[in-house]
Amino acid sequence: MAELITAELVDLDLHGSDREEVTADLAKRLAGAGRVGDLDGFLADLREREAQMPTGIEGGIGIPHARSAHVTEPTLGFGRSESGVDFGASDGPAHLIFLIAAPEGGGDEHLTVLGALARRLMHQSFRQSLLDASDAESVVRLVREEVFGQ
């Protein structure tokens, strides 16, 4: 199984001002890394999910996500936005954005990884470390430690 996240999937300085834009920026990284086949199709799936219920949660977090036929590997894209981007959370814009991409027919072990990741997001210490991370490599290392315990 490929790495959940690599340095090229991290953007610590997102410039987009709305959720469509930052989601697309991160999705492009996934496409660039060969994790997503059809970028437009994947974005459409993300929009469909987002339309059901915004994915922002309190504490400045946005987690655009979708199970999509256009995704080849379960993948996490991570971005940080200085100014914040509205993801529909009631307490304000999101500064940490996690783009979670799951393949349509993914096996259980893939999805278990994503479930473990989602659980870690609820830990304040993890969020703080991600806010403090100085470069893409340390984000990748943090995720690996937290999710896989290695």
């Binding site: 999910r49 059901q52 219920m53 949660i57 996500h65 259980d108 994503l114 479930g115 659980r119």
Partner: protein, 523 residues
């Protein structure tokens, strides 16, 4: 205290697990024990029977229906959306504690707490198998206003019905292709172009007497016979869980029997759901509680729903049908294209229901008396609805759910084959906007066919009997025009009517601006 919880969200890869983690953290922080079942995509490890037995209360943090909710029937319940758990799990744990302490009866505890959290989830859980894209669309959002809830219930029924529409419709279309349009008469009996067929009563004679086309037609029409019962049964299932299925299906079968069509199925499904929801509220001693969902509730609900369908719904429908038939006969001398338009309206109103049937029968009667124009108008107007919907799913796919877009693909073939039922999944899910759009398109087609003077000596077969149609090109123009009108009306209605974003509010922790993709007006 000891709690159990179930978390579930639409995609099943993020919120389900975040809510579980948040609840575990909050419970532990408050000095309680909790076991959480995550009904997500990665499969869920069901809660152990010991955990459930030992629990003082249960917390549902779910935006989709909770599977196997009956396991918790005798516990105080707190119900909220996943976001309420993620954003403020401590409050839910607090509510669960209060519910236990106050000793409120289970049903009320759940309701009070749910309302308190601003996320009243009236819809009882729907047991589902593991969610995946191949699964029928599930009711999204287990809270908010009555309009949204009704739409969720309807969508649940529709999503289980779509496979029957697609499989049955395509089988019938293929049967027409292979066996010609007379195959319906050969199998079911009736007249086709002056020849009388007795029909085939013994299924084992089908292959010998009607060939493979007859078999295809029989299988397809059997699937079609299930449309209304399945729609009705699974609407009730979406509302009231497993005990809703039996009364829902029985009600749906009766809706078919009294010729009430899919609108009758909507009525019987909702009726069955409400009756079962009401029966579930009745407090019974624990000893009896075990047989309630299996015996008592289905028994009482089947009887009540059946009685209402036969007596209260059935008789007025029969009376209205004969009234409409007389009325149509009286109009025969009037302006011909107006009559065509009127028949179009009727064909599209309930696609296979009583009004549609009156119009179709009128066409058959006209055919028998030698008027082939009226038959052409009726058939063309019956082809338009699925075609217009199929076109709309292509032109504006984002206005439709994935299940609807899939149904749209089959709808092309169904429309071309004059299988108006292809429109039912759309009409049942969002009747207020879909049905008027269908009527506008079919009225256009019906009026145009009469104005053009196109004729059809065949009572069914759609595009496959085009060789028999008089003025076939103009006939196709009429169908295409109606299709475009339906598509245009529907896109406009879905874009501008009743879909409104609502900003998330602080007091609405699970605040969800847009509820699904075919949203009826909120609350």
């Amino acid at each position: 205290m000891k709690f159990v919880a179930v978390t579930a969200c639409p995609t099943g890869i993020a919120h389900t697990y975040m809510a579980a983690e948040a609840l575990e953290q909050a419970a532990t922080a408050a000095g309680h024990e909790i076991a959480v079942e995550t009904q997500g995509s990665a499969g869920s490890a069901p809660l152990g029977a010991d955990d459930i037995a030992a629990a003082d209360a249960v917390v549902f943090a779910a935006d989709v229906d909770v599977r196997d909710r009956e396991r918790f029937a005798d516990k105080p319940q707190v119900t909220a959306g996943v976001k309420a758990a993620i954003n403020d799990a401590a409050a839910l744990i607090e509510q669960a504690t209060t519910a236990v302490r106050s000793g409120v009866a289970p049903a009320e505890a759940g309701r009070e707490a749910g309302t308190h959290a601003g996320t009243e989830a009236e819809s009882a859980g729907v047991p589902e198998s593991a969610p995946s894209a191949a699964e029928p669309e599930r009711a999204v959002e287990a809270h908010t206003g009555a309009g949204t809830r009704v739409r969720q219930w309807l969508m649940t029924g529709v999503s289980y019905m779509i496979p029957f529409v697609a499989a049955g419709g395509i089988l019938i279309a293929i049967a027409f292709l292979i066996g010609g349009a007379e195959i319906a008469a050969v199998v079911d009996g009736g007249d086709f172009r002056g020849v009388h067929y007795d029909g085939i009563s013994d299924p084992s004679d089908l292959l010998g007497e009607a060939g493979i086309a007859g078999v295809l037609f029989k299988v397809g029409s059997t699937a079609f016979d299930m449309l209304v019962p399945v729609l009705s049964g699974f609407i009730a299932f979406g509302m009231a869980d497993r005990p809703g299925i039996a009364p829902g299906i029985v009600g749906g079968l009766l809706a078919s029997a009294i010729g009430a069509g899919f609108l009758g199925g909507l009525v019987s499904g909702l009726l069955a759901g409400f009756v079962v929801m009401g029966l579930k509220r009745i407090r019974v001693p624990r000893g009896v509680a075990g047989v309630m969902p299996v015996v008592v509730i289905p028994l009482v609900a089947c009887f009540v729903v059946g009685l209402l369908m036969l007596v209260v719904v059935g008789e007025p429908i029969a009376a209205a049908q004969s009234g409409m038939t007389d009325w149509l006969a009286g109009l025969s001398g009037g302006t011909a294209w107006l009559l065509g338009g009127l028949l179009g309206l009727m064909m599209a109103f309930d696609t296979g229901g009583p009004v549609n049937k009156v119009a179709y029968t009128f066409g058959i009667a006209a055919l028998a008396s030698g008027d082939t124009v009226i038959m052409a108008a009726v058939m063309a107007a019956g082809m338009t609805p699925p075609l217009g919907l199929a076109l709309a799913t292509v032109v504006r796919g984002r206005l439709f759910t994935r299940a609807e877009r899939d149904a749209g693909k089959a709808a092309w073939l169904l429309g071309l084959s004059f299988i108006t039922e292809g429109a039912i999944p759309f009409a049942a899910a969002d009747p207020l906007r879909v049905i008027p759009s269908l009527m506008a398109g079919s009225a256009t087609t019906g009026a145009l066919v009469v104005a053009f003077g196109a004729t059809s000596p065949a009572p069914h077969g759609g595009i496959w009997v085009l060789g028999l149609v008089g003025s076939p090109l103009l006939y196709l123009v009429a169908v295409a025009a109606g299709m475009v009108v339906t598509c245009g009306c529907l896109v406009a209605a879905k874009s501008f009517l009743g879909r409104r974003e609502r900003p998330a509010r602080r007091d609405d922790p699970a605040g969800a601006p847009v509820h699904g993709l075919v949203g009826a007006r909120q609350g």
